[in-house]
Amino acid sequence: MTNTPSHNSDTQRRVLDVKDLSVVFGTGPNQVQAVKSLNLHVDRGETLAIVGESGSGKSVTSLALMRLIEFGGGTITNGEILFHRAQEETVDVRRAPEAVMRSMRGKDLSMIFQEPMTSLNPVFTVGSQITEAIVLHQRCDLNQANAVAIRILDQVRIPDAAAMMKRYPHELSGGMRQRVMIAMALSCQPSVLIADEPTTALDVTIQAQILQLIAELQKEMDMGVIFITHDMGVVAEIADRVMVMRRGEVVEENDVFNLFAVPQHIYTKTLLAAVPKLGSMRGISQPTRFDLPMQEDQAHARLASERAIKHSAQSKDGTIDSPVILGVRDLVTRFDIRGGIFSRVQRRVHAVEQVSFDLHEGETLSLVGESGCGKTTTGRSLMGLTKVSGGQVVFEGVPVNLAQAHSLKSLRRNMQFVFQDPFASLNPRMRVGECIAEPMVIQGLASGAEASRRVAALMERVGLDPSTVQRWPHEFSGGQRQRICIARALSVNPKVLIADEAVSALDVSIRAQIVNLLIDLQDDLGISYLFISHDMAVVERVSHRVAVMYLGQIVEIGPRQAIFESPQHPYTKKLMAAVPIADPLFRRQHKLEVSEIPSPVRGVGEKPLVAPLVRVGEGHFVATHQVGGLY
């Protein structure tokens, strides 16, 4: 079993061989099979992507490979995990004693995790956390370890590595923290890097940088990478081979080009059908439903095919001629940051800086941007959830005073909000029927038997079984809860629905179903949507018009086709370039740069530059002034 360097075969490159792996949680009658009979292998220099939705067992697999699963209550019941150590013997990770495992973790096998904020110890400096691994595995003193740490920080392209050593995790941005995690994991030059959704919590442009960084480092260190993700776009960008998992089993394994071109298993086909592919809407002007082969509810499947026919028959051009239902002019929202001994205002967050747009009847206007751009704050301000500092709002021709309770209440009869987190959006102590009926009841539109009737109708409309009306929220899945929230929002028959990242927290296939639901509802009821999202591919599917925000201002706004097919503003172009396309044939080479997303915090008295947008096409406007940050 020993690998001698003179062998020049493929097996010399093989670094990990997993056969028939099974992992369970719990004991006795409550036992859950998390992974069943899994086989995988990774070679040096190759990237294996493990793809699946929640509950697929992909994270469990990664933790089992490092034998970390036992600390979380899991047990490996079967299989062997053969790790071919460089110039040494092969170790069966499953049977290795804990002492051997400890010597291997961080040195031969390393892992990076999804949430860089909670995965770094908040009370220790960046430097001490990196040197800890070095001192542990390389038997050197602290000075040498510090030197190695600085070198690896340079390798992950962190500017001013020496100063970074002394900083604490909470002082860094998400992207920086992830780089630190990568540095920590790679400090001892492991043969295999396991990356568990490392970019899921990052903004798109930062994600692109991190993906590029990992690819570079992989080449430099000749290591194997196991990349776990739910994002097919990321898979297409970085993977050499792909393994699709569902409910603990591998349903399909193939090299990346074949998998995307000719998927075999129906689950893989569903997954690929549910993933919005950036660029797939070229030439189509209207929002389009996803064509899902595996429908969870049969009733909708039939309706869906009918609608698809109706849709393709229509072909209007991109612009909407219907009247303006919501007009926003120069909206300003700022937050004060207090500090000092006397709690004086020291700085201000310029969250929304003179934003203006019109929303037409029956259209979807998307607000896109990255963290801190102000899109969520805009939505919240319009709803009265955040106090506005200035601007005018006109609804159906009538001016609205967002600071006045009466005015706000009548606005709320016509405009509703859907939140991002389906789990925190429902009162755990209120039955579902009551949750849905609440806005109706508050606005005095219905009560008693009438309200119950309407609740049942709403539940059917959003694809829920009306007989479940008396259940509690925790008895429903994430997707179902989001449907409940949508039903709740619809209960007052609003003309405008603000969806604040309403599908971002959902699994890919569920996300597609909810997007379909939203498009159907718009068709049937003529609701306008203000769709707030950071996911460009979904936005492409769903919008009539798009507004790109940066540092609290709209830098580009126009019909969806114009924005996606010919973006004008440099930030829009950068955003488009960073989005991973779910097709390996369209892989892009990114620049290995390090840039941060700027913060909208400014000192008191500093006023950002705001200027009117310049027309560059039909309904298409671009900012030409210096907004701040890099643009």
């Binding site: 959006s425 009162n427 609440e438 806005p439 508050i442």
Partner: protein
């Protein structure tokens, strides 16, 4: 039925604590039937007798039957415990909810609560009782005042954090009035933690009353409170410990039962509460 049984098996502290407490409540209610002698009856000829057939727990310095006094003493402790728990819960919740929503009230309330909390319970009660006459009502009022800040802190903290929840914002977005938000959304979600905290306060109140009576600042000596009985037995405790031992035993069992119940409820509802309560 089996569901209840399985639940109790998972949380044995609820079962044990609850049962003990239930038995003690029974003992308090049925005191006249359990103890045949009058707890207040003086009988100097029988003073300071050790436990015997006739006097199960012996007699105190005035010849009163210790067993009867201990059994009746349960009434005092439980009345104090439950009343203080209830009153402090109600008052504390009202103040806490208001404080969580009206900023200027919050500023004042929190300073006052911090001030009250920095005075140890016993001393606070002592100060209040020293100025009024000793009576059961005054003891209850004094201990309640000392425990209210605890509840206010808990409820206010919960109100502040629950306000940020999306479902509360959804209600506001639908046009809900602050009253509706508080009563339908905030309060129901504080009940769980409030119940656990109230249980602990019940135990603390019983302890406080006993301590106060023990040092002479509690209920009047004629009323048979466990603390009083122990105070009366102080002088002779080295030679005749029975006067202290029995009330001490019952006092400890009662507080233990309540604390076990509190622990069990906390673990059953949300084990993470252990960090706060």
């Amino acid at each position: 039925m089996t569901r209840a049984f399985k639940f109790l098996r998972r949380y044995p502290t609820i079962a044990v604590g609850g049962t003990l407490l239930f038995l003690l409540i029974l003992m308090a209610i049925f005191a006249p039937w359990i103890a045949d002698k009058d707890p207040m009856a003086l009988s100097p000829v029988h003073r300071a007798r050790v436990p015997s057939e006739r006097f199960w727990f012996g007699t105190d310095l005035l010849g009163r039957d210790v067993f009867a006094r201990v059994v009746y003493g349960a009434r005092i402790s439980l009345i104090v415990g439950f009343t203080v728990a209830f009153l402090s819960a109600v008052i504390g919740t009202i103040i806490g909810l208001t404080s969580g929503f009206v900023r200027w009230i919050d500023a004042i309330v929190m300073r006052v609560m911090d001030g009250l909390m920095s005075i140890p319970t016993i001393l606070l009660a002592i100060a209040l009782i020293a100025l009024t006459r000793a009576s059961l009502e005054n003891v209850i009022i004094a201990i309640t005042i000392a425990e209210v800040p605890r509840v206010v802190r808990l409820v206010r903290g919960l109100a502040l954090s629950l306000r940020e929840q999306p479902y509360v914002e959804a209600a506001i977005a639908a046009g809900a009035s602050p009253f509706r938000v508080v009563f339908k959304h905030i309060f129901p979600n504080t009940v769980a933690a409030l119940t656990v905290q109230t249980t602990y306060i019940c135990g603390l109140a019983i302890l406080a009353e006993a301590s106060l009576s023990f040092i002479g600042a509690g209920v009047p000596p004629s009323i048979p409170s466990w603390g009083n009985i122990m105070a009366e037995g102080r002088a002779l405790w080295q030679i005749k410990p029975h006067m202290i031992a029995f009330p001490a035993l019952f006092l400890s069992i009662t507080i233990l039962a309540i604390n076990m119940l509190g622990d069990g409820l906390r673990d059953a509802i949300d084990p993470r509460m252990a960090k706060r309560i």
